[in-house]
């Protein structure tokens, strides 16, 4: 399949989606830790998660 001069290879796209998905899962706890470290304790469990705290502490 050709679109705009690029050849889109479905298996490769799928591979990237899977790998990026796994990477996100692997790194999510670290991102959450970083985000939580900048919040007051009462704001840590606020949902939905405020990934970048509006008032970093």
């Amino acid at each position: 399949m050709r679109t705009g001069g690029y050849r889109i290879n479905l298996p490769i796209v799928f591979l990237y989606v899977v790998i990026i998905g796994i990477t996100v899962i692997m790194l999510l706890p670290f991102a959450w830790m970083l985000s939580a470290s900048l919040k007051l304790s009462r704001d840590v469990f606020v949902f939905p998660i405020e990934w970048i705290p509006s008032e970093p502490r």
Binding site: I12, L15, Y16, V18, I19, I22, T23, M26, L27, P29, F30, W32, M33, A36, V44, F45, F47, P48, I49
Partner: protein, 318 residues
């Protein structure tokens, strides 16, 4: 290599520095003995440390398994008392089976995840090194720090994981209780273990994958094999030595599991995640029954030894 050079150099130096009266040629045996002495002196610093801090305590623990000791009063001989006590100790039997369950689930799970990751990240994709580093990251992170974060994320009432499940439409009544629920606690601990250590075994598998001769894939391709057939009939057999190593390492590691259980569930709720090493810790440093805890340690040692010997036997048969 370098050691033998060093030994030879030291031998020459000793010969050169020897006083005149010894100018006569040394007999073969004398020279051999001198060489051996030099070699032992090189080993000594390492061996003394090992003997004092590892071998000594291990031997002491084995002896202690047949004694009564509370850590402060005199040690008394117990014979097989501690051994018979094992069979009446319900907590020990629970811990034994929990250890088996933990190992039986976490070893295959980690193995499959590590192999899958290695195969995925062995393909030529952009940013491959970044992804590999990301997978390895949990392994190098401090276990205690990471376990605290897991505890908060998997908090059953307000943790982000259950919040996510809630927004996905899961009924709050059927929400997994993770570390606080006796049916989910073991799963939580196993999930953590797999997440933490699969990156390390992925690296070992990557090394194994890189050692496979690409001609084998070409030959399989000429024979008309598809990707899955190549994986089953080329990759897997070629990786057999790696898989053996990973299995042995993982098995030993899971029999010894302690720190993540201490951090996440403390053996609870009830005794649902009580494993052997945690029971050893309880008996030794909570109840101060060092003799009995040494006996449990001895059982664990025999268990790990037996399983490892079995694995080596099976490897040799293949």
């Amino acid at each position: 290599m370098s050691t033998s050079h060093a030994v030879a150099a030291a031998g020459e130096a000793a010969t050169a520095a020897a006083p005149r009266r010894r100018s006569k040629v040394l007999t073969r045996r004398q020279r051999k003995r001198r060489e051996a002495l030099v070699a032992y002196s090189f080993i000594a610093p390492n061996f003394v440390g090992f003997a004092v801090f590892t071998l000594g305590p291990v031997v002491f623990a084995f002896a202690l398994a047949f004694m009564h000791w509370d850590g402060s009063n005199a040690i008394t001989f117990a014979g097989l008392d501690n051994f018979w006590r094992l069979f009446e100790d319900k907590a020990f039997i629970t811990a034994f089976w929990n250890t088996i369950i933990y190992t039986a689930v976490s070893v295959p799970a980690t193995l499959v995840c590590a192999l899958g990751l290695a195969v995925l990240l062995n393909s030529k994709i952009a940013g491959r090194n970044f992804f590999r580093t990301a997978m390895f990251f949990p392994y190098v992170a401090s276990l205690v720090a990471v376990a605290v974060v897991w505890n908060m994320m998997f908090n059953p009432e307000m943790g982000p994981v259950n919040m996510l499940l809630y927004t996905l439409g899961l009924d709050p009544k059927n929400m997994p209780g993770w570390a606080a629920d006796r049916h989910w606690a073991m799963i939580t601990v196993i999930l953590f273990g797999v997440w933490k250590s699969m990156g390390y075994y992925m690296v070992i598998y990557l090394a194994g994958l890189q050692g496979i001769n690409s001609e084998l894939y070409e030959a399989a391709g000429l024979d008309g094999a598809n990707a899955w057939q190549k994986f089953v009939h080329v990759t897997l057999p070629q990786l057999a030595p790696t898989t053996f190593f990973v299995t042995v390492m993982l098995t030993i590691q899971s029999f010894k599991v302690f720190d993540q259980i201490y951090m996440i569930t403390q053996g609870g709720p009830g005794t649902s995640t009580l494993v052997l090493v945690y029971h050893i810790y309880n008996e030794a440093f909570i109840s101060w029954d060092l003799g009995y805890s040494s006996m449990i340690a001895l059982v664990l040692f025999v268990l790990v030894l037996a399983v490892t010997i079995l694995q080596f036997r099976r490897q040799r048969e293949d």
